[in-house]
Every structure is written in structure tokens, then in C-alpha cells.
């Protein structure tokens, strides 16, 4: 199912979100990244529904910043770096 058209900079759409997912789920924690990306998907969809079609990502970034404020190593926990 095509979501995005193919153009040279299409990778930028994904690279930032991938980075956010990995950090949110704690670096090196595969299950954490999986859970984080699922949460981000839901958060973005909710944002599109309730904030506006062009700014669903606000909710994702707010979620990331809030999470890091309370859990500086992401949701996966583990030892502090």
C-alpha cells in the first residue's frame, strides 16, 4: 500500500522517526524499540485526529520529551549510561 511517493529525499521521512523510536525504547533494546514504535504510531494517529492533519508529530515529540524527562534512558530502563 503506497504511503509516500518515491523521491530522493523520501528517506528523511523515516530516519528521524526511526531514531526517535530507538531512543524512546532505550538504545540497544530491541523489544523496547518495537513497543516504542507502536506507541509512536498510535500517538501520531491520535495527534492527526485531535490536533490536526499536519501536526500529528507534535504528540510524538511531546511524548518523547516527557518520557525522557522522567526516564532519561528511555522506556526500556536498564542500566544508566
Amino acid at each position: 500500500m503506497p504511503f509516500y511517493s518515491a523521491y530522493p529525499f523520501v528517506g528523511q521521512v523515516f530516519v528521524l522517526m526511526a531514531f526517535v523510536a530507538v531512543v524512546l525504547g532505550t538504545l540497544g533494546n530491541v523489544i523496547g524499540a518495537l513497543i516504542a514504535s507502536l506507541m509512536m504510531g498510535v500517538a501520531e494517529s491520535l495527534g492527526i485526529q485531535f490536533v490536526g492533519a499536519d501536526s500529528g508529530q507534535i504528540v510524538v515529540f511531546a511524548m518523547l520529551l516527557l518520557t525522557l524527562a522522567f526516564k532519561p534512558n528511555g522506556l526500556g530502563g536498564g542500566r544508566a549510561r
Binding site: 530522493p8 528521524l16 531514531f19 526517535v20 531512543v23 538504545l27 490536533v51 490536526g52 499536519d54 501536526s55 508529530q57 507534535i58 515529540f61 511531546a62 518523547l64 520529551l65 525522557l68 524527562a69 532519561p72 534512558n73 528511555g74 549510561r81
Partner: protein, 328 residues
């Protein structure tokens, strides 16, 4: 040592004279535009370098302050008729105020967590300016009213005037960096950059130092934002908060040599001239090939010269000193 000092002063004086005379000699407005871009991005790089270079806090969110500076001065100018000269300072103050909560949040994080948090703040700010139209002009942005030749409103007919403003900004940034580098704060910053825990153990108040340097860095970045908007006569969230500005600020410093006074300047001169020259040589033949070549140069520098070009120059100079018979 005395002789070297004299040489440095002479070199600096020569560079200043060349830079001051340059727009009188070069008449092509295309060339002046490139010079202005080089000066502007050097200035942003210098501002980034204070925090990213000396304290090694790899922020990729400086676009937040660039955008805040740009928007503050534009809103003040269009809605209240206040000169962007004042707006530039006001924008800096707004950016400083914004850097306090952002810094409070981000500085508790380390490494990639810090980087992603700074990216997130910049992106979130861009989306806020896109979304809430009452705040500014939403996604469509706005043009700055053209007043002709109005130096008091930072609008000039001659491109050369913008050049001198940019040169002044860069000189300010370099002077501040020089002062900080030579003061106790510079040593604290380097100590934090080397090993934050060790620095705290010997009594460096790391959170306070990082907060202070973030204030200075964001103030300078906001000034660059105001200048850029006045220069291109247009503002919208996508250009003012562009992720590319954050990247560029970090990139020029990394290529030039982080934690050095002249690193960002050297890096910008190399990167901007290469990208412009490549564009004019190759851009016409095969579309996009200049970006590929540009990226390859970038990769080569980062792979083989992680200390940046300033590191390369310093090593070469030291080799030269060693080879030369020692004289008193």
C-alpha cells in the same frame, strides 16, 4: 613564542583588511551572496561550537533558536513597527528564555538521548508555528515589507551592506569565543567535554556551566536568524526551523574542527565553496550529481580527519616545527 604572536596578529590584520575590501573589489552579486552565506553559516557554526565543540554537547536543535530569533524580530517589525536591530536583541532574549527549559530538560540526558531531545524540541517548535496560526502566519509564512533603502530597519539596497552586517556578527561571535576560550569558563567547558563525571568530581558545577553556555549559544544563533530573515525577505516555519540549519551548524564545525576558534569558519569556507562550485560545474549536466560528490567529500573528511581540518593544519605545523632545527 613572541615571534609567533606577532605573526598571528599580522595574519589576522591582513585577513580583516582583505575581508573589508572584498565587496569593493568583487562586484558580482552572485559572489557577494556566496560570501554572505559563508559569513552567516560561519557565525551559526561559531555559536554552535561554543556548546557542541568545547563542551561536546552534540545539539542538533539549534534551528529552534534560529527560528525563534527570526520570528521574534519579524513579529515585532510587522505588528509593532519595531526595528529589527532591536528585534535582533529581543529575539536573542526570547531564545535565551526558551533555552532555559529546553536546557533543563536536555542536559540531564547524555549522548544520543541528548541529541534526539534537542532535535525533538526544534521539530516541535516548527510544528507549533505551523499549526497555531494566531501565533504567526502559519505554513504560508509572510514576506517582510520592502522599504527600499532603510538601514534603520536592516534593509539595504546594496548587497555589500548585508555583507558587512554578517561580517560584524561573525566578528562578534569570534570575539566572544576567544574571550570564553581564554577564561576559566573555557577550561571548565573543555573539562566537561572530556569527561563530565570527572569534571564534576573535581568541583566543576557542570549543570550551571552548561546552562550558561547554552544561553550564549542560543542568543547568537537567534541573531543569525534575524539577519537571515532580513536578508531573504521571507519567513515561514519550514525555512526558519529547518532541520538543515541544525545539521549545517554542526557539520561546518565538525569538518572544520570542533572546539577550536577558527574551526567553524574553515569548515564553512570549504563546504560552502565546494557545494557552490560543484553546483555550477556539474549541476547543469547531470541533475543531482553535485550532491553526490559533495557527500563523498564530506564522508572522506569525517572518515580520515575526525579532528577536522584545524587538526590537520595543527599537525602539519607541529611537524614543520619539529623538522626545523630548534632555535631559541
Amino acid at each position: 613564542m613572541q615571534g609567533q604572536r606577532k605573526w598571528n596578529a599580522l595574519l589576522l590584520a591582513a585577513a580583516v583588511i582583505i575581508l573589508l575590501v572584498l565587496p569593493l573589489v568583487v562586484k558580482s552579486s552572485f559572489a557577494i551572496d556566496i560570501f554572505i552565506r559563508i559569513l552567516l553559516f560561519s557565525f551559526i557554526g561559531v555559536a554552535w561550537n561554543l556548546m557542541g565543540g568545547y563542551a561536546k554537547q552534540l545539539s542538533l536543535g539549534h534551528a529552534a533558536y534560529f527560528g525563534l530569533g527570526a520570528y521574534t524580530s519579524t513579529i515585532l517589525q510587522i505588528d509593532f513597527g519595531i526595528s529589527p536591530w532591536i528585534g535582533m536583541i529581543a529575539g536573542g532574549v526570547v531564545a535565551m528564555l526558551a533555552s532555559l527549559p529546553i536546557g533543563w530538560l536536555c542536559f540531564r540526558l547524555r549522548g544520543p538521548y541528548f541529541t534526539i531531545a534537542t532535535i525533538a524540541t526544534a521539530q516541535a517548535l516548527m510544528l507549533i508555528f505551523l499549526k497555531f496560526r494566531d501565533l504567526a502566519w502559519g505554513a504560508e509564512g509572510t514576506t517582510i515589507p520592502n522599504l527600499g533603502n532603510a538601514p534603520l530597519m536592516v534593509q539595504f539596497e546594496a548587497k555589500a551592506a548585508y555583507y558587512y552586517v554578517a561580517l560584524g556578527l561573525l566578528a562578534l561571535g569570534l570575539a566572544i569565543t576567544y574571550r570564553i576560550e581564554k577564561s576559566w569558563m573555557g577550561y571548565y567547558l573543555v573539562a566537561i567535554g572530556e569527561d563530565e563525571d570527572a569534571a564534576e568530581a573535581i568541583g566543576v558545577n557542570a549543570p550551571r556551566i552548561k546552562r550558561d553556555i547554552y544561553l550564549i549559544s542560543s542568543f547568537l544563533t537567534a541573531m543569525a536568524g534575524t539577519f537571515y530573515t532580513q536578508y531573504i525577505y521571507f519567513i515561514d516555519p519550514a525555512t526558519a526551523f529547518s532541520f538543515n540549519i541544525s545539521i549545517e551548524a554542526a557539520l561546518v564545525s565538525i569538518v572544520g574542527g570542533i572546539g577550536t576558534l577558527w574551526g567553524p569558519v574553515v569548515g564553512t569556507v570549504l563546504l560552502e565553496t565546494t557545494s557552490t562550485l560543484l553546483q555550477s560545474w556539474l549541476g547543469g549536466s547531470i541533475g543531482g550529481v553535485q550532491l553526490t560528490v559533495y557527500s563523498l567529500i564530506l564522508m572522506a573528511v569525517i572518515l580520515w580527519r575526525p579532528t577536522g581540518l584545524m587538526g590537520l593544519a595543527t599537525e602539519a605545523y607541529q611537524r614543520y616545527l619539529r623538522r626545523r632545527p630548534a632555535r631559541a
